[in-house]
Amino acid sequence: MAEILELVLSAAFWTAVLRIAMPYVLGTLGELLCERAGVLNLGIEGIMTLGAMAGWMAVYQGADLWTGVAVAALAGAALGLLHAVLTVPLGLSQHVAGIGVTLLGTSLTYFTYRMVLPQATTPPTIEPFRPWPIPGLSEIPVLGPSLFSQTPLAYAALGLVALVAYVLYRTPVGLGLRMVGENPAAAEAQGLSVTGLRMGAVCAGSALMAVGGAFLTLSAFNAFFFNMLNGRGWICIALVVFASWRPGKALLGALLFAGFDALQLRLQQIVGPALPYQVFLMMPYLLSILALVVMARRAAYPKALMVPYRKGER
């Protein structure tokens, strides 16, 4: 027990938590934006995979790191646009369209990677984002070396949480976006474009997801691997429910989740071979399912989530 307490109070532990959390933070934020506008985006796994590869590939080809982030965001937005076209104006099943987008995103990613690097057996590496300690704040014990010594992309992700929260709750666009997710007919009567707002939300949300994927290859690691996402996108969908569709709670949920994940990694080292390592690796997935079960009763889904809107139809 003392070991665990010491671990939880160490700066290295919290550094790991933040590093693990960031892809979840961005992915959850992106999914939240889509769902708030009434569109479930099951393309998230594929979009994050594409973002991870596209961002990394751009940097590997000589672009600088921020250009890599932009490339990832654009690639994500492009796949998001596909999902948006299928589900908003065409009103197709959001479940099946999302699975299609995930299958397409993943396969296109692997195809492209193999096209460009046909012979790569060990994944080539890039020079990723370096930690960027904030002068002064990084001197604080525990908090300093963890929270205030992150990479610039991690700070940007935290800034995006605040930005999305601000846009959702403090701007007319955000109000409109929430409205089309709750009552599209009423939004239309107010003169808002349901199609435009929903498509915009899906594209922007998908861009965020893709940047979440790129965080893995540009900040957390320095290379792209096949099956790198490993279900992170699906976990984000569970986190959105856990967060009751609120950006602040999404950040909290992602941090909590990452905390368990980091703890699980350390426990694995402490417990050693007494338990098979797979038991520990299962924990994040089981934890997500548990979170869904606990929150399901209280889940306040956006009223029009998964309901396609066609003008003049009831």
Partner: protein, 349 residues
């Protein structure tokens, strides 16, 4: 431009939709083939030849189609009732695990009872795995999409744990694989010097059974009603929750059977690469088939053919094998658009 529902859908249009979708997908993916520098006609000719061009190619395609028919049926049965089982991959692996475990010498039964026992146990395992998400959905309102998806990862880790632990083959040279199943637990081969096995017949029987169930029984009718409009179904006195659970049990059983059939018919033992995504492929099969069981057989052969043919194409003209996954994914998306054009007509204004 607006969409106007068709009063009735001509049968030819329904049959043409998947053909058109596949043609469109192949046309779109030609761009990727061109990117790799290969000649498009030559690449696609190699694909067709690799999939159907010889006795061996054809039997390989049918062998590959066998689990896809079953996972396709699993998806079709569930989607009809609007139960989104995206976890066929996990159910397949659990079915395979149970089959490898029981067939590997644990059960000492005479040959003719061993095979059915192993297969039924595999199906039951898949069924039980999906019962969890189904009960969570009907009792607690937990979305089944995420639970079934996440269980795929849990099951894969569980299989990995078993293959590195209690079920590890002592003769396996250290590889994480199970001991081979007993010869009596193996499904018979259908043709000499090929890998085609009796699992194909089982899959076709399953398709026929699913067709009878959906089209000719009360169970099938109730599942369609729940899928169409759960509120109306409830008003009509249909026990919606039970229909959901029942559908899930059948869907899980079909996916579990796919895994058991792969182990007893094709591989003979279990490894972690038993399925190259048959679970997810089943979703594409079901959608291309418009959830029809007979269509699922045709669609599974198509998807299998793309994968088998792409291997040949990749060897011939150096296009990455992932082209198969792209073609299948694009086919799914084109099919979605095609179903829309079947149900609606485009009108100006």
């Amino acid at each position: 431009m607006r969409l106007e529902p068709r009063a009735s859908v001509p049968l030819t249009l329904g049959l043409l939709a998947p053909v058109g979708a596949v043609a469109a997908a192949l046309a779109i993916c030609a761009a990727l083939v061109a990117w790799s520098g290969a000649s498009i006609p030559r690449a696609y000719a190699l694909l067709a030849e690799g999939a159907l061009g010889s006795r061996l190619a054809l039997t390989e395609t049918l062998t590959r189609a066998t689990p896809l028919i079953l996972t396709g049926l699993a998806a079709a049965v569930a989607f009809r009732a609007r139960f989104w089982n995206i976890g066929a991959e996990g159910q397949l692996y659990l079915g395979a695990l149970v089959a490898a475990w029981l067939g590997g010498g644990l059960l000492d039964l005479p040959g003719w009872t061993l095979v059915p026992t192993v297969l039924i146990a595999g199906a039951l395992a898949g069924s039980l795995l999906l019962a969890g998400p189904a009960v969570l959905k009907t009792r607690f309102g937990v979305d089944e999409v995420v639970t079934t998806l996440l269980l795929n990862f849990v099951v894969l880790l569980f299989v990995s744990m078993m293959l590195e632990g209690p079920m590890k083959d002592p003769m396996g040279m250290g590889w994480p694989q199970s001991a081979p199943v007993l010869p009596e637990a193996e499904l018979p081969r259908l043709a000499e010097r090929t890998r085609l096995h009796a699992g194909l017949i089982l899959a076709l029987l399953a398709a026929a059974a699913v067709w009878v169930m959906t089209a000719r029984t009360v169970w099938g009718y109730e599942a369609r009603a729940v899928g169409g409009n759960p509120r109306a179904a409830a008003f009509a006195g249909i026990p919606v929750a039970w229909v959901m659970v029942r559908t899930a049990l059948i869907s899980g059983a079909l996916a579990g059977l796919a895994g058991a059939v792969e182990v007893t018919g094709l591989k003979g033992y279990l490894t972690l690469d038993l399925s190259p995504g048959f679970g997810y492929g089943g979703i594409v099969v079901a959608m291309l088939a418009q959830l029809h069981p007979a269509g699922a057989v045709a669609a599974a052969v198509f998807v299998a053919g793309i994968f088998v043919g792409s291997d040949a194409m990749s060897r011939g003209v150096a296009v990455p094998t992932y082209i198969a996954d792209v073609i299948v994914a694009v086919s799914l998306i084109c099919m979605l658009v095609a179903t829309l054009l079947v149900r609606f007509r485009l009108r100006k204004g």
